[in-house]
Amino acid sequence: MSVLVNKDSKIIVQGFTGKEGTFHAEQMIEYGTNVVGGVTPGKGGTMHLDRPVFDTVAQAVERAGANVSLIFVPPAFAADAIMEAADAGIEVIICITEGIPVQDMVKAKAYVNERNCRLIGPNCPGVITPGEAKVGIMPGFIHRKGTIGIVSRSGTLTYEAVDQVTKAGLGQSTCIGIGGDPIVGTSTKEAVELLMNDPETEGIIMIGEIGGGMEAEAARWIKAHGTKPVVGFIAGQTAPKGRKMGHAGAIVGGHDDTAEAKMEIMRECGIHVVSSPATIGATMAAALKK
């Protein structure tokens, strides 16, 4: 099992022939990911990285059977790319693009909700099921196939957690980067729920940040429905109120979205909360032994 992507996923890249798209598609193919083609409007009918290029996502679905799409389209056009993928019947849409206008995402999210698909991101590192499919920009080699599911709003901090899990002798089932924007396609709770229902996942690491109410929502869901140990960390304990910390969504607005408030709620809901990001892996290993 695992969730969202696996060795049978038929993956396309939107923005395939661009610099970013090309570089990461190459890395993914090298990892062994089943990339069946890509989309660049106007370049349909050509080949790129030994794979077909299509003009539209609909063509890629029809001719290559694509069911997962990874988006590298520039911010001004990314929401449109998300809606195109949703309309074409793509089941899992993963958007890497950072800097999409909020109002574009409000519309795209509503559009996606009405269709039978799941959006991950934007502004995320992607999703990886180690040993099967790397669908994103994460470094493949730090991962190892295993039983720990990871959900995170950040990129390099996720790699940090992955690395610690691997060094603790464990591996990962699926790592889901949900993204650092204020409006994301899949919430922390939804990603945790996927992993909680995955028989291969034995423990979950949930990494949040200041800003918004997603971690509190996930914690309450875990308290009511959780069946596996969950280790949690919230970045930004030292961030001042009202200042945006890099990610568009990482800003403390009120009392409820500080790191302390979130960690307190998570503790109350039975999550193993670590105050130092250096102890995520060790805490997971210890929680599994209990």
């Binding site: 911010p75 001004a76 800097g99 999409i100 206008p101 909020v102 109002q103 574009d104 995402m105 409000v106 519309k107 999210k109 509503a110 920009i137 994460m138 470094p139 080699f141 730090i142 995170s152 709003r153 950040s154 990129g155 390099t156 901090l157 996720t158 790699y159 940090e160 690395d163 610690q164 650092g180 204020p182 409006i183 940040e209 200041i210 800003g211 918004g212 109410g213 997603m214 929502e217 960390f233 970045a235 930004g236 304990q237 030292t238 961030a239 001042p240 200042r243 945006k244 910390m245 890099g246 990610h247 568009a248 969504g249 990482a250 790191a259 105050s275 130092s276 990001p277 250096a278 102890t279």
Partner: protein, 481 residues
């Protein structure tokens, strides 16, 4: 991007939202001319002088004054222009230094024609993260802090969520007007007001529009009297005319400089600088600094390319802050190779020569981390390397151990104690403290002469012990002959 009140009002007026009329002034002369015009247009000698800075609560610090005649106007405009205005939202709050007022607006008195019948409402539009929809928040209790209203009388704060695909519907505008308890002309005017306000929010790609107060005047008109507005930076590409409205005077100069180098930097008050790739890891690194006994001096995301040039820019930026006593570099190399980053650090360090006078801890993890550690360890530079985050944390704690200030000629154990108490624990901190400041701290040591201490400390901080010793040989009791 935050807008000034006058900019927000100009933008709202473009979308047909009725706003209080006002004229911008940078000087007393301009203020006088503005007042004449406002007086003529409004037919009233009353006008309001409002400081234009990016912070709310301006009235509390004396930044908003009513002028009843030209003499008043001159007094208030003269006082407000150039003042350091303190509000609860300026850095340090009412106790802080305040913000310099460079411009003011002279506005009509919105409370005419009938002061008694004026009502103040609160209306804002923003994007709600949980529902992923735009929402109009409103209350009959305007003119005060909405958070306080929400706490004391939550039943008086209403929210209207808008369908992203359909936009604001007529029934919603009606509902809002009914909830304000309005009828007749006032009802119609409120419907128009919220409809146009919502239109302005979406079409200008705002992240927040707050109208507080929205004035319901004696003629049953609705007028935006104060406006707080922020635009989505990511959407400015489709509002090119608004980019020029950015006021760099209102931003931290170091953050402006960082932005020019494409570095994402936020200045903080602590003593340990940091340089990290990725926003989440940067925040986590700040947390590690705190847990190690320090306080983060900044947030700094160097992004995906941590080459020598960027590392050097980041070093220079961090070292401009006199409070920095150590720097932690934390890079998780995925696509970026750690050995490249290590070479970048070494090269930047060498380029900067004498300028680096604080301990540096470099933690590189990920691709080629082993080679990177070797590069750092063999560089011969005053850099401590670490691989695990935990090791980096321990190194930070070590680096923050107080320096032995008694190595500075003229400083004995008692004076060292007094300096430590004043927060001077490192050679670097001492090196950036002037002799005058030191004399102030050492009032109870009238014999102490700190004239050479900062210079001695500067050598100590850079590890130039030989040079320091030679110089100390020439000093008598730490004083030049």
């Amino acid at each position: 991007m935050n807008l000034h009140e006058y900019q927000g009002k100009e933008l709202l007026a473009r979308y047909g939202v009725p706003v209080q009329q006002g004229i911008l002034a940078h000087t007393l002369e301009e203020a006088v001319a503005a007042y004449e015009k406002i007086k003529q247009d409004s037919g009233s000698p009353f006008a309001v002088v409002k400081a234009q800075i990016h912070a709310g609560g301006r009235g509390k610090g004396g930044g908003v004054k009513l002028a009843k005649n030209m003499d008043d106007l001159k007094t208030h405009a003269g006082n407000i222009l150039g003042m350091m205005l303190k509000t609860p939202q300026t850095p340090g709050g009412m106790e802080g230094l305040g913000k310099l007022v460079r411009k003011i607006i002279i506005t009509e008195d919105a409370y005419k024609p009938n002061f008694e019948s004026c009502k103040e409402y609160y209306i804002s539009v923003l994007t709600d993260r949980d529902s992923k929809r735009n929402v109009i928040v409103y209350s009959v209790k305007g003119g005060m802090d909405i958070e306080a209203v929400a706490e004391e009388t939550p039943e008086l704060v209403h929210k209207e969520f808008v369908d992203p695909q359909l936009g604001l519907q007529a029934f919603q505008a009606r509902k809002i007007a009914f909830n304000f308890g309005l009828q007749g002309e006032a009802f119609k005017n409120m419907m128009k007001f919220v409809t146009k306000l919502y239109d302005a929010f979406v079409k200008s790609d705002a992240t927040l529009i707050e109208i507080n107060p929205c004035m319901h005047n004696g003629l049953d008109e609705m007028i935006a009297v104060d406006t707080k507005m922020s635009l989505d930076d990511n959407a400015l590409f489709r509002h090119k005319d608004l980019i020029a409205w950015r006021d760099k005077d209102e931003e931290d100069p170091m953050e402006v400089e960082a932005g020019e180098h494409d570095l994402n930097y936020v200045k903080l008050d602590g003593n340990v600088g940091c340089m990290v790739n990725g926003a989440g890891l940067a925040m986590a690194t700040m947390d590690v600094i705190k847990l190690s006994g320090g306080e983060p001096a900044n947030f700094l995301d160097v992004g995906g390319t941590a080459d020598a040039q960027r590392v050097e820019q980041a070093f220079r930026l961090i070292l401009k802050d006199p409070n920095v006593e150590a720097i932690l570099i934390n890079i998780f190399g995925g696509i970026v190779r750690c050995d490249r980053v290590a070479n970048g650090v070494v090269e930047a360090y060498k380029n900067m020569g004498d300028e680096i006078n604080v301990p540096i801890i470099v933690r590189l993890q990920g691709t080629n981390a082993d080679i990177a550690k070797q590069i750092i360890d063999e560089s011969g530079l005053n850099v401590r390397s670490a691989t695990l985050l935990q090791e980096a944390a321990e190194e930070v704690a070590k680096a923050l151990q107080p320096d032995d200030l008694t190595k500075i000629e003229g400083i004995g154990p008692k004076i060292q104690e007094a300096l430590n108490e004043a927060g001077i624990k490192s050679y670097r901190k001492l090196s950036v403290t002037s002799a005058e400041q030191l004399k102030e701290i050492l009032k109870s040591f009238p014999m102490a002469n700190p004239s050479t201490w900062s210079q001695q400390a500067d050598m100590a901080s850079k590890g130039k012990w030989e040079e320091l010793r030679e110089w100390q040989d020439k000093l008598i009791g730490g004083v030049e002959k």
